[in-house]
């Protein structure tokens, strides 16, 4: 008889859903390979744009929606430190004055993880079955790093990708300037910050820059390609799942060979 697997609800994040579905499939593969069953309940957004814009009512309504949709799972996993932080750290804050919902938010937060920290800290994954020939550098996206303590986990797993050499950039823990709506509200400042980040990436001489948050990746990819740099930009899940043959973020689709 087959041992019943624990069920993981994949919170795919609105950006991955819209822009880069391959990150969702990579995450699902990694979680399944770690011995879990993955399901994707119907979902929209974690509500962070509303929360960070001061619209608590909308943030709360969306939080209730997410909690209700994912309550039946053993774990909730998101391929993003930013959305993961919203679910795990900020949801309970939203319900501080509502004991019933607070209990539900706390229980939800307790079983919610950012993808790579889930793989390493919960699932006990120690290596992955993936290959990438080249050098890569890793950017620590802010929320994952500071709200969820994601730092060594991705480096540990990336260290097991065959053929991949990791090279640290200067100031890997400094913000890339994305900041959600910040990038659209203060585009000039955001551009200055990402220019510094791009310079640090380029200085490593790496073939690829990796991070765990699609927002930061789109920001860095957009800057690097605008400056004519050919450095590939990829989500950590894609690299760990061995999906590096896909076009990189912001890169043109590969020509189909007949």
């Amino acid at each position: 008889m087959v041992e019943s697997k624990k069920r993981v609800g994949l919170f795919v994040t609105c950006l991955v859903d819209l822009i880069r579905p391959s990150v969702g499939f990579a995450a699902a593969k990694l979680i399944e390979d770690a011995g879990f069953m993955v399901e994707v309940p119907r979902q929209t957004c974690c509500g962070q744009p509303a929360f960070n814009s001061g619209d608590r009512a909308t943030a709360r309504a969306l939080a209730e929606q997410v909690i209700a949709a994912f309550e039946g799972f053993d774990y909730v996993v998101a391929p993003s430190g930013s959305c993961g932080g919203q679910l795990k750290i900020h949801y309970p804050e939203l319900f501080r004055d509502d004991p019933d919902w607070l209990a539900r938010a706390d229980a939800f937060a307790a079983k919610t993880y950012e993808l790579v920290s889930f793989l390493v800290d919960v699932a006990g994954v120690t290596h992955v079955d993936a290959t990438f020939e080249g050098t890569a550098t890793y950017h620590d996206a802010c929320s994952g790093l500071r709200e969820l303590g994601v730092r060594v986990q991705p480096r540990r797993l990336l260290g097991t990708v065959q053929g991949l050499t990791m090279k640290e950039m200067a100031d890997s823990e400094v913000c890339c300037g994305f900041g959600g709506t910040f990038a659209t509200k203060y585009p000039d400042i955001s551009a200055t910050i990402v220019a510094k980040k791009a310079a640090n990436v380029v200085a490593t001489g790496a073939d690829m820059v990796i991070a765990g948050d699609l927002g930061c990746l789109m920001n860095m990819a957009g800057k690097l390609s605008r400056d004519g740099k050919t450095i590939e930009v990829r989500h950590v899940a894609e690299v760990l799942a061995g999906m590096s043959d896909l076009p990189a973020i912001g890169a043109p689709p590969r020509e189909r060979t007949p």
Partner: protein
């Protein structure tokens, strides 16, 4: 009379700052001079993180019993022969200072570094009333020559390059030889020292700030690296301390704990060069010191913050670590923030002191990267408080109409998952079709700000959820 608030023009200020090559050169040094040194100092002290907890607890305790400690402090100051003046607002504080100056017939006033002085605009007020204020902190002296506000709370002239300082000295010290060499920082400092030395001796009143007020002894404490504060407060007839209610801590023991995190967080020093504790005026057997000792304790809206969401910012000990580590401050410098306090602590403080209606940009101009909170020696949850300001702004409908409309539009879909699934599918597919050749956009009409500086990666095609469901159905 207080400094003009240019925070409403934050965007224009920032744009000008980004285009200012001298400023960008100066800001690049912040990294070397502050971040690296703070890290080294923190790493050398195994108990640094525990000290931060204690520093937070000391300030929290003092704020929880503020009335008690302020009364105790006042009693001690008076017992030593000094005077305490509580000022509700900036105007009252300025009036108190001017009254002391007038009574003593003061013509010139030397000043140590005081951010409260900047907050109440004491210099322009004294000047308008015939009293000449002379800044004696080198950085403050420089910005006084230029008629500027400080751009950093501990390094007021951090926005200036050496070349700019040399040019200002040639302009303002016109009686010195034109062809003198001003290329070395040491020569610049020596020239400032020579010019200022004469002013110290001539001053009738000395004004300093206070890093801390000690309740158990009635002392005021300043930490400096130049020694100018000591000359400012001991040579003139009267010493006026400008402080605010949040500066009081219970004991000298508490002070010593706070000092251990202050200098390390600020400049990476184990201790500042001078830590000066002043208690009352000159006593009969003292070799020197002022005849009068006054402490002006400013409220200016702080007591209203005690019971609310912004209370934690009153723990701030003004080290400047939050701004040194802020990517936005590093990009635009302190003047862009448009008032006295810049950076993350300023973005929390300024709306409280001058109103969120004028300062809405400050809490919004943050990526919420969290590095400020990570380095704050008293663990102020700065991003959380910036978010609270955004909430106030949203509640009072002060945020821009376009932002509110955009949020409403997005929220409608986000709250209806099926509709959202359909809408995002159509959106993702059409955008992917348009971007199918290059895989990115050099221009997008609905993301102009983004595409002005960087490309926008094109979606891959269908949404993840649509693909997932069709794969699961077919398997």
């Amino acid at each position: 009379m207080s400094a003009v608030v240019t925070s409403p023009a934050f965007k224009a200020n920032a744009k000008a700052a980004l285009a200012d090559t001298e400023l960008q050169k100066a800001l690049a040094l912040v990294e070397v001079n502050f971040i690296v040194r703070r890290r080294a100092a923190a790493d050398q002290l195994p108990e640094f993180e525990a000290l931060r907890d204690e520093a937070r607890d000391i300030k929290d305790h003092a704020l929880a019993h503020l009335d008690l400690y302020l009364e105790e402090y006042e009693k001690r100051v008076v017992a030593h022969g000094g005077h305490v003046h509580f000022a509700v607002d900036a105007e009252e504080a300025r009036r108190i200072v001017l009254d002391v100056c007038r009574r003593l017939g003061a013509k010139t006033v030397t000043k140590g570094k005081t951010m409260i002085g900047e907050e109440i605009g004491i210099n322009s007020f004294l000047e308008a009333n015939g009293v000449v204020p002379i800044e004696t902190d080198l950085g403050e002296y420089l910005i006084q020559l230029r008629g500027e506000l400080p751009s950093h709370i501990i390094a007021p002239a951090v926005h200036l390059t050496k070349a700019q300082v040399a040019a200002d000295f040639r302009r303002c010290h016109a009686d010195l030889p034109r062809d003198r060499d001003l290329t070395e920082p040491t020569t610049l400092a020596a020239e400032a020292r020579t010019v200022l030395r004469q002013k110290f001796l001539a001053a009738d009143v000395g004004i300093t700030g206070a890093n801390f007020l000690i309740a158990e002894t009635g002392s005021s404490v300043i930490v400096t690296n130049e020694g100018n504060g000591d000359l400012t407060q001991t040579l003139p007839k009267a010493h006026i301390v400008l402080a605010s209610i949040d500066k009081v801590v219970p004991t000298l023991e508490d002070l010593s704990q706070l000092l251990r995190v202050l200098a390390r967080s600020a400049t990476g020093q184990e201790a500042s060069v001078y830590t000066t504790v002043s208690t009352g005026p000159r006593r009969a057997d003292d070799p020197d010191g002022p005849n009068e000792y006054h402490v002006v304790i400013l409220d200016n809206g702080r007591s209203n913050m005690l019971g609310g969401q912004f209370r934690d910012i009153l723990r701030c000990i003004r080290c400047g670590a939050c701004m040194n580590h802020c990517p936005v401050y590093s990009a635009v410098g302190g003047h862009a923030y448009g008032w006295v306090y810049p950076g993350p602590m300023g973005a929390v403080m300024t709306p409280a002191l001058v109103g969120i209606d004028k300062t809405g940009h400050l809490p919004n101009a943050s990526t919420f990267c969290g590095r400020c909170e990570e380095v704050c020696p008293v663990r102020i949850p700065l991003p959380k408080m910036l978010r609270h300001w955004r909430e106030r702004e949203f509640e009072r409908r002060l945020s821009p109409a376009t932002v509110r409309a955009g949020l409403r539009f997005w929220a409608f879909f986000a709250r209806h998952p099926r509709l959202y699934g359909l809408a995002t599918l159509v959106f993702a597919r059409s955008l992917a079709w348009f971007g199918r050749r290059r895989g990115r956009f050099r221009f997008l009409p609905f993301a102009r700000g983004w595409t002005r500086h960087r490309d926008f990666p094109a979606p891959m095609g269908s949404t993840f959820q649509a693909q997932w469901r069709s794969r699961r159905r077919s398997s």
